[in-house]
Each structure stands twice: as C-alpha cells, then as structure tokens.
Subunit: 441 residues, 2 copies
C-alpha cells in the first residue's frame, strides 16, 4: 500500500471520546427528562435546507457564517445555523397537523462557519424549547420554570435567571423619543457587560446624542428588589399611563410567588438580547459560581414566529440551553462526572472457548439490571484487572471451570478485594444494592 | 410585508412530527439501553470532514452520492455518508487514548445525495456497533448476540439472523480457481434474492464461464441444518485440508449452543455482503413476518479497519441497525407505538391568573413521576377535554378555586368519567399505579 492519509478533523469540529460523550449524554438525558415531564414533545428537522428558507431575505452577518453550497441537483442549500428558523418553517408547513399551543423541544447539532475562538465551535449542539400559539403570561412563566427545572437537575449549582421585557424597554425608548434608533441601542446595551459603561455610553451617544444616551444608561442601571425595579421601570416608561408590559411582568411575578420559586429570578433592565426578533419577555441565565462564563440559557418572546412563511400570526416564547458552554463551565468547576463506561462489571476471560458460557453468565447480571461487559481475549489476570480499572468498572467477575455452575470470584476493583466461592445468585445480590445506589448518586 | 417564502423541505429529507419522533426515540433508547448493558460506549464525530478522509483515494459510486463542497476557507469538505469511515479515522487518530479491544456504538445521521426511492432518504440515521482490536471468535459472537438482544427489545417479532464467513467463500473460490474474479462474483451473489437464480447465473457466467458459475451457485445453495451446511461448505472449500474459517464458524456455533440461543441463527452460504471490506464473518437480519423488507441489521468482520490512516493493523467486527427501514417495517406490521406525548396528565386552565398555582400543582404530579402538562389559556372545559384527548393524555385535572388546597376533579379521558372531590394526594395515588403500569407495557 502506498501513502497513508493523515487522520485529522476540520478546525472548529470535535471528536467526542467515550468519557466526554457519556458526560454530554448524561446532561442531555436529564434535560430531556425535565422537558418531557412538562409535556413538551420532540420534533426533528433536516440538517440541510434550501438556503432561501434558512436565510430568508436578509442574511447579513448570518450569511457569512453559513455553510452554503450547490447540491448535485444544483439546488442552493445550506446547513442549519440554529433551530429557530427551521422551527418557524416547520410550524408554517405543518400548521394543520399540530394543535396550538404547541410545546416542543429540539436537541440537535447546528453549524456555523465562523472564526473559531476559545470555547466556540463550528459544530455545536442546541437544546431549544418553545411554546408557540399562546400569548399568555402563563406561557412566559412556564418557559422560566422549565429553565429553572432543567438547569436544576444538572448539578451546576445555583443559577441566577435574569429577565426583562423588551416591550417595556421599547416603550421607554419611545417616551424619550429614540425608538427609531432601537436596533443600534439594543446592540449597544447588549455589549454593556463586555465593553463597560464608558464604551457603551460612547456607542449609544453615536446614535442618540449624549443626553439621551445617559437616560438610556440610567434606565438599564435601575437597582433594587424585583418590585422596586419594576415600579421604577414602569414610571420611566409610561409615567402614570397604562403599561401592559409592566402588568405582564407583575403577573409573572405573582406566578413566581404562587409557585414558591420567586427567589430564583432577577429583574434586570440591562438584559435586552441583541437579536431583533424578541418583542416581549427576554431571559438570560448565569451560573452563580461562574458568571464570567456568560449566559448558559437564554431566550424570549417573539410576536410572530412564522412571519416569513405564513400569513397567520403565531406568537411564541422559548429558550435555549447552550450545552457546550454549560459543559465548559461544569468542567471548569470540577462538576462534570466523566464516567468512562456505562458498565459496572465485566466477566474475565480465562479460556477463550468459554465465550458462549461467559456471555450466558453476563446475561444473568444484565437481567438483574447490572450492565456487564464480557472480556473477549485470554490474558493474564493482572492485565484484565488493569483493563477493568481503566474502564472505570466496579467489579471484575472471575468465572470458574463452568462459568454458569462453578463458584466464581467477585473482585471489588476500588478496594482490590476478592470475594471467593460465590454462586451467581450471591454475586448478583452483593452487587445489586451497590450498583443501584451508585446509579442514583 | 411583501412576498412570503414558501415553506418546503428538500426532496429526500424529512420533518419528524412528535408522534413519529417519539416512536423513533423510543426505539433508539431501547437499542441504546441494550448496547450499554453490554458495556459498549458511545462516541461522536463531526458531520463534516475533509473529503480526502471520507472518500480515501477511491471514490467510485460513493463519490457520486456524497454532499461535497468548498467551505469558506476553500477546504474540500463533505458530509459523512456512513459512520464506518469516520470511525476508522477516529481509531487511527485516538489510538493512544483508547484501550483495545474497544467496543463502541454511534447513533447519528448520515447524508447521501443519491436518487430518492421509496423508503430511501438522503438523510437517515445509522446505528452502528463495533468491536475493534480483537480477532477472537468471542467478538464475532458478541456482535451476533447484541444483534439478537437489541432487535429483541423492539417488539418487531421474531427475527432470523443469517450468517456466513466471507473467508470460507473466498477459500472456495480459490479452490475452483476463480478467486481473481471475487469482486464481480460477490456483487452478483449479493443480488441473488433481488434478481433470481437465472439472472444471477447469467451475471456470474459473464465473469467465470457457465461451468464455474454453476459451481458457485451450487455452493451458495447448500441447504440443511447449521452443522450439515457447515460440513458441506468445508468439504467444498477445502476438502480434507485444514480450514480455519470453518473452525471459526464451529466455535461460534458452540458459543450459540452454550449460551442457549442457537435457534436464532441460520448459516446461509448465499450471504456475502456486497461491500469489499468484509473478510470474515458476515451477518444479515430479516424480520420473519416481513422478509421482503430486506435486512434490518447487517455487518461483518473486517481485517484492518484503519488501514487507510494508520500502519497498525486493527481488526474489527461490527454491525449496523437500519433504523429507518426497521421503522418502516414496524409501521407496516402495525407494531409501531405512536404516542403523541410523553405526558400522562394535564392541569386544565380555569382562570389564567392561577398560572403559578397550576404549575405548583403540576409539580406535585411530576414529583410523583407522572409527567404533567399545564394548559395555559382560559377556554371552555369541553375544548380543554378535546385538546387533552388530541394529545393522547390519560387524565385531565380540573383544579378548584385554590389549586393547591381545594378538592380537584380527576377526569379519566378514555372512559370520560370524573372523580370529584379528590385531594392532591388522593389523585396522585389513583394515578400512580396506572401510570407506571402503562409505561411498562
């Protein structure tokens, strides 16, 4: 054979070896269990779509990032860069098949050909959950509650879920006469944490002049309790006039108190989310032990999800867990459990021709709910001990002459102690309690 | 707003609505649980790789099918068309990080830009499991056992797992002097079931002449019990000389008997698998109730998985479940459980401002392991009953004035009967037993 091909992957893409993949799946399975317990249902959509569908008429920044090409049939196609646009297309296309309000989750990969930075990848997983077809405060609140629950089961410690109302902010901008500059203002405000107060003021002043820029900054810097902030915002945005956006926040606040979880949420007028399409409530989540990581779960309410593809106005609210960023945070905090295998035990291979009996023996443990591997190749026992340890197993079972009938030896790998002369039933019993305890921890 | 964009997807691609996606996930989760119980570990690799890595030096048929393009950095890239080639690259690249034998599974999407046919898609899921680094018969057998177990939990009824040994076939070809034509012969034999005996004979004759073609057909048509077929094949392939391939099959046969599952497997000399890279045992699986569907799980042994990327020879054996084909089969047989939701119950919305208390109420059911949705919008109860039925829920809970404290009404949706005046605890108790029973069925 001639030259080898050097094994390598594209920059910004990753292989997941078993410990990393198991850790990732553990987290995703917990998140998914939380979604399911709320009655959210999964959907899936293609990785590849018509470019026109994904980019709409605009494009701009997104267009530069997207993996776009002509397929064999000369169609202009692209890899999805998020799960929101495909969801909008999905809702418009399947409107007659789904009952509104529709609560869905979608966990899948997306691709962006942007420049790679530390902790940013060209292929990453998004984990979206949305309610479309309900304009109620109850829907806004349900997404908040799901954020709290889904993040609560991940062992990431305390989270701070910060929220705001984009409509209330706009009402304020309108009152001070700079609503026509809202896109620039939103982008500037969204950078506050990154670039600091002075730079933000400078940026704001460019579009609104210094006086108005100061007013905007003052608004987003309102401090106090939830109720104090809300009152001050209402006052600044509408004076004594009716303010449905503040009413909405008050109702959500009441839901928080009624369900006993008010302390998890912070009203923060500086949260606006850069993206244009939010119109109502917006959310961001920080890990209390690592706020510098940035938001690990964000979202908000949009007036009309499927506007590009349908004349029916469908309101929606949703959020997205940044699982890759969350994993980076958990890793940094030493809170990521990286198991090398799902198995707890293995059957040692004493004689290769016992392969069938060894599998029959392993099956007895599997039937008892103990995942059990079978070692396939004859090797010295010390080598098999080492292999079992490397695989992170709890036990190695050394079968006797007749694996199904002879007494066996149960080696406890962490303590390196052997229990000899056990029957299969005795071994199952000794292992069961410990195995299930470990699984639940 | 001006023109809408018509919502549509690319031909050969699919949206999965919740019932289809839940059915798919149910199957995949069962398969995965089976893999995990054997100590197989998950990996993941990028969807996009260098074209050189995926296509190697060859290409041929595959090259025409692949989604290939230049990325923004002018790199020649392609979407993976299977999970075997990326696995070969993965093993070569991470050789120092993995312990051999390495048992992995990988469930992920692959893309092929081929012409769409009934039941064939351009995006589909593969579900691969392999053991690399062991040349043992125990590894060959473990893959067979996993095929049996993984398919056994899916409710697809009886399966017939057919196996053969590519090496034994080659030894036979060598003995009758046509080994140099093996690629053409393998392709012809692989078509036997599709094109029939006469056409296969014609095809074979083109490369070997009629006399040899008849000999080949006679070989692959050997009938009898496992042992009879094996003896006749050995005789035809090696006469009285040593035949390690037949020895290997005999040992695997012994493992089947030892583990009490021999009746699940059929030795079939006509199974050769078209693909070039198999060198040892090969497998195919048919649903007994629907053999015309074709193989739903196939694979085999290859001498040197990572040959293209590494000088170290790493033998392997593996198989792949065609989950899309399997789903089509289950659907046809009426055996696919298409649940519209994971939830069992919902809280009716009597007053919208009870949103927080309704969530607190739902949380009590969720804590008891009963997935519970909350309806968000005020509507007539009859409408809410209908919505709950459409979602396939078992119960609708109608809360009282104070959802947490007032007695509630529990509506059993299938029987349309109400139980009135229940406390939360009484409702949980009444639902728990039934819920868990349903989940296990």
């Amino acid at each position: 054979m001639a030259a080898f091909i050097e094994p390598r992957i594209l920059k910004g893409f990753r292989d997941f070896l078993p410990p990393a993949e198991i850790a990732r799946r553990d987290l995703l399975e917990k998140i998914e269990a939380s979604f399911r317990s709320f009655g959210f249902v999964p959907i899936d959509t293609p990785a590849l779509e018509y470019t026109e569908i994904l980019l709409g008429k605009g494009g701009g920044e997104t267009e530069k990032q997207v993996y776009r090409f002509k397929d064999n049939g000369d169609r202009d196609v692209a890899l999805r860069f998020d799960l929101t646009v495909p969801f909008a297309r999905f809702v418009a296309e399947h409107r007659q098949e789904i009952a509104l309000p529709f609560k869905r989750y979608h966990i899948a990969k997306v691709w962006r050909g942007e420049n790679t930075q530390r902790g940013r990848y060209r292929e990453f997983t998004q984990c979206d959950f949305d309610i479309v077809g309900s304009d109620s405060a109850a829907a806004d609140f349900e997404i908040l509650l799901m954020m709290k629950n889904a993040l609560g089961v991940l062992g990431a410690g305390e989270v701070s879920i910060r929220l705001n109302h984009r409509g209330l902010f706009n009402r304020f901008l309108s009152r001070i006469g700079v609503l026509d500059k809202s896109v620039d203002i939103l982008r500037a405000v969204d950078k506050l944490e990154k670039i600091g107060r002075d730079e933000t003021l400078k940026l704001l002043s460019e579009s609104t002049g210094t006086a108005k820029a100061e007013e905007v900054l003052k608004f987003i810097e309102i401090k106090g309790s939830f109720d104090e902030i809300l009152n001050a915002m209402k006052e600044a945005a509408s004076g004594n006039e009716a303010c449905p956006e503040a009413e909405r926040l008050m109702l959500i606040r009441r839901f928080m108190i009624d369900s006993g979880i008010a302390e998890n949420f912070v009203l923060d007028p500086s949260i606006t989310r850069g993206l244009d399409y939010y119109t109502g409530i917006v959310y961001e989540t920080l890990l209390k032990e690592m706020p510098e990581l940035g938001s690990v779960c964000s979202g908000g309410r949009y007036d009309n999800l499927a506007a590009l593809y349908s004349k029916e106005a469908i309101p929606g609210v949703g959020s997205s867990i940044g699982i890759d960023r969350l994993i980076a945070g958990l890793e940094h905090l030493g809170k990521l459990q990286a198991r090398p295998s799902y198995a707890s035990a293995a059957i040692a291979c004493i004689k290769e021709d016992k392969g069938g009996l060894n599998q029959a023996l392993a099956e007895k443990f599997r039937q008892a709910g103990i995942p059990c591997e079978v070692f396939l190749d004859e090797a010295k026992l010390t080598k098999q001990f080492m292999l079992a340890e490397k695989k992170g197993l709890r036990w190695l079972i050394i079968p006797g002459e007749d694996p199904l009938k002879s007494p066996l030896i149960l080696r406890d790998l962490p303590s390196r102690e052997n229990k000899e002369g056990l029957s299969v039933e005795e071994a199952v019993k000794a292992m069961s309690a410990l195995h299930h305890e470990t699984q639940e921890s």
